[in-house]
Symmetry: C2
Subunit: 123 residues, 2 copies
């Protein structure tokens, strides 16, 4: 149990990787995961058929395009993208984001993309 | 859907309440909730039998006492308290915390306490 009871620092975890669009797992709660990701540029349009997905911006700002709107998110803001809703995250300059979603979610959802990242990469 | 696709600002939501130890729901992801809470002083010893519970410190610092250790957490840090583990959050001065846990979790767990807060209080 002691290993689990260590505080997890976002900034320390971010210092361990520089890849963008490649979510890294930092903690699990029940069957949900907390993942850190660096975003820059445009991601692919995709959706997650079976789950909502939470974005919490820790540093910088991002936009999430939806089919009929764009939501701008800055540090200290949260957005839950509902399941089955097409969306495209993007960031004009590098932003740091905390994702919360069930274990096993693939970053590009249903989309076949070069940006598909491996799941369950812990740092 | 549009109502859901509005960014949720932690600081704006905190400006809507001043009570301590009374988690306010700001968003739901599947059957999980994100709750903001102001902590100051000592909470009660308690545990949540059926679920892990995540603490993310947004401002200030807190301590969480366990039966055999104390974990200090500051802004930008996260801790998952495993299910069934007795713990007591406390804060020397007011701290602002984001909790992530399944819908319906009672703040004092199994403990019978004057600090038991109503669930599902949205702000």
């Amino acid at each position: 149990m002691n290993g689990k009871l260590t505080p997890i620092s976002f900034s320390e975890k971010f210092s361990n990787f520089s890849e963008q669009w490649s979510p890294k797992v930092i903690a699990e709660m029940n069957d949900y995961q907390f993942k850190l990701v660096r975003l820059e540029g445009d991601f692919v349009w995709h959706q997650h058929e079976n789950t909502d997905e939470t974005f919490i911006v820790l540093e910088g700002s991002i936009a999430i395009d939806f089919e009929d709107a764009t939501v701008e998110l800055e540090a200290g803001q949260l957005l839950v993208v509902p399941r089955g809703v097409m969306h495209r995250p993007r960031a004009a300059s590098e932003a740091k984001v905390l994702l919360v979603e069930p274990r096993g979610v693939i970053n590009t959802g249903q989309a076949d993309s070069a940006l598909t990242a491996p799941i369950d990469r812990w740092i």
